[in-house]
């Protein structure tokens, strides 16, 4: 425990000493007020009948609406308010059992779960000659879950403007009170806390290219078990490390940019993962951008994961999210500006398979595939 606290303290202290980074444009308040809204539809594929007891079952479906306001305040400040509202329904995996043919099959939660989530986020940001600093508060509320989080971040540019150093610290407190009635739950009321620190540095490497590295540490403490899973008991502490890199390169011909990001994740539950994001940002004239994107993800399984959980162990879980698997997702974004209006549209497909991963493990019958669509509209008052 003392080691964890000293690690977080050391990283936090480094973060406060380091100058920081947000973006090339980030050191002056916006010269406009922006108002935006976005609607998204998220839809998981049904579980396959061959992988479940009781036949095919519907999974989650979520409608999400986002509202956004960004405005300059006084000479050196900006304020941003973001609201997100979600309506969720469907069933989720309850536990995995052994079928007569020897293979694992999933039992779904049965009755459709209905819930709504409302999130409010407020960010104030101060801009100064060599950088900026922000404070963010987020409150999220669901029938069975409530979360409060605060974050501080800062950015500092080197004298020649070639290098930007950045840092952020955050903490959150979550209260969990599972809805009773659908399936037996692992707790009636509980809570958890998270603290994290992040440092990053970005550097201009040519007139057309920029690169960055970042390192993050997160410590979670409290009830980390999934309250709705039958066979789930997890440690009450978790330490996570993330190493991230990013690269942007603009090509004069064909007037487009390559966006590449890589993340390595490692924790003390035995989970490690690789994430690679690639996007090509193609300009079509002055006002239209077409952005195909592709993401590859692979994770190892947690030390206490088993397809059919061994409940004699101290910790156990059959949650597919703690299994070894690979995922490929991709899609297309479109953005078109008409005067001070900007219209955006996104379509994305996400598919998982144990054999796509670089880590070995048994295939969970509950792996999820989904579609997601978004439509957005922004307006800038100048």
């Amino acid at each position: 425990m003392a080691d964890r606290q000293s690690a977080l303290l050391a990283l936090t202290s480094s973060a406060l000493l380091l100058p920081a980074y947000q973006g090339v444009r980030a050191d002056a308040p916006p010269d406009f007020t922006e108002l935006g809204m976005r609607y998204s539809k998220y839809e998981e594929d049904n579980t396959q009948g061959s992988k479940t007891f009781g036949g095919s079952s519907e999974r989650y479906e979520i409608d999400a609406a986002q509202f956004h306001l960004l405005a300059p305040v006084l000479d050196d400040w900006s304020v941003a308010v973001d609201l997100q509202w979600e309506d969720m329904s469907g069933a989720s995996p309850w536990f995995v059992g052994q079928s007569l043919d020897g293979g694992p099959k999933v039992i779904m939660s049965g009755a459709s779960i209905e819930d709504t989530r409302t999130e409010v986020s407020v960010t104030t940001r101060y801009y100064y000659d060599r950088g900026n600093a922000g404070f963010n508060y987020v409150h999220s509320d669901e029938d069975d879950y409530e979360s409060d989080a605060v974050a501080l971040d800062g950015a500092f540019n080197s004298a020649d403007g070639m290098t930007t150093y950045s840092a952020a610290v955050s903490t959150s407190h979550d209260d969990i009170s599972p809805t009773q009635g659908s399936v037996p739950t692992n707790t009636l009321n509980d809570d958890k806390d998270s603290s994290s620190a992040w440092v990053g540095v970005s550097r201009i490497i040519s007139k057309n290219a920029i690169v960055r590295f970042g390192l993050a540490y997160t410590y979670r403490d409290g009830f980390l078990t999934d309250p709705y899973k039958k066979n789930d008991r997890r440690p009450d502490e978790r330490e996570e490390w993330v190493l991230g890199t990013g690269y942007r390169h603009y090509f004069i011909w064909p007037d487009g940019a390559l966006q590449a990001d890589y993340r390595y994740f490692d924790d003390d539950w035995g989970v490690a993962s690789h994430t690679l994001d690639l996007a090509w940002h193609q300009n079509l004239g002055e006002r239209t951008q077409l952005i195909p994107f592709l993401r590859y993800y692979s994770q190892s399984e947690a030390d206490f994961f088993a397809n059919v959980a061994n409940t004699d162990q101290r910790y156990f879980a059959d949650d597919y999210r703690l299994s070894a698997f690979g995922a490929v997702s991709g899609g297309l974004r479109l953005r078109h500006e008409i005067g001070d209006w900007a219209l955006s549209a996104v379509g994305e497909r996400y598919e998982t398979d144990e054999s796509w991963g670089v880590f070995s493990g048994d295939e969970s019958p509950a792996l999820v595939n989904f579609w997601r669509y978004s439509l957005g509209l922004d307006y800038r008052f100048r």
Partner: protein
């Protein structure tokens, strides 16, 4: 991983990048050269992936949680 991170930071700090004068940075200010071109899209994607995978974070402050299943 900590050693790898230190090496990457050192490489970046010491790299012999060409000096790009302020008046040569027009391309770098373009929308497509930002780390986040659409913050709402990024936050929604991060929320979805964090609720379906065992990994999360790495892009700045961690933010709050949700009971997303």
């Amino acid at each position: 991983m900590k050693q790898l991170a230190l090496v990457l930071f050192a490489v970046l700090a010491l790299c012999g990048c060409e000096t790009v004068e302020p008046w040569e940075r027009g391309v770098l200010a373009k929308r497509e050269m930002q780390w986040q071109t659409d913050p709402r899209e990024s936050s929604l994607q991060a929320q979805i992936f964090a609720s379906k995978e065992a990994s999360s974070g790495g892009q700045g402050a961690a933010g709050g949680g949700c009971g997303c299943n």
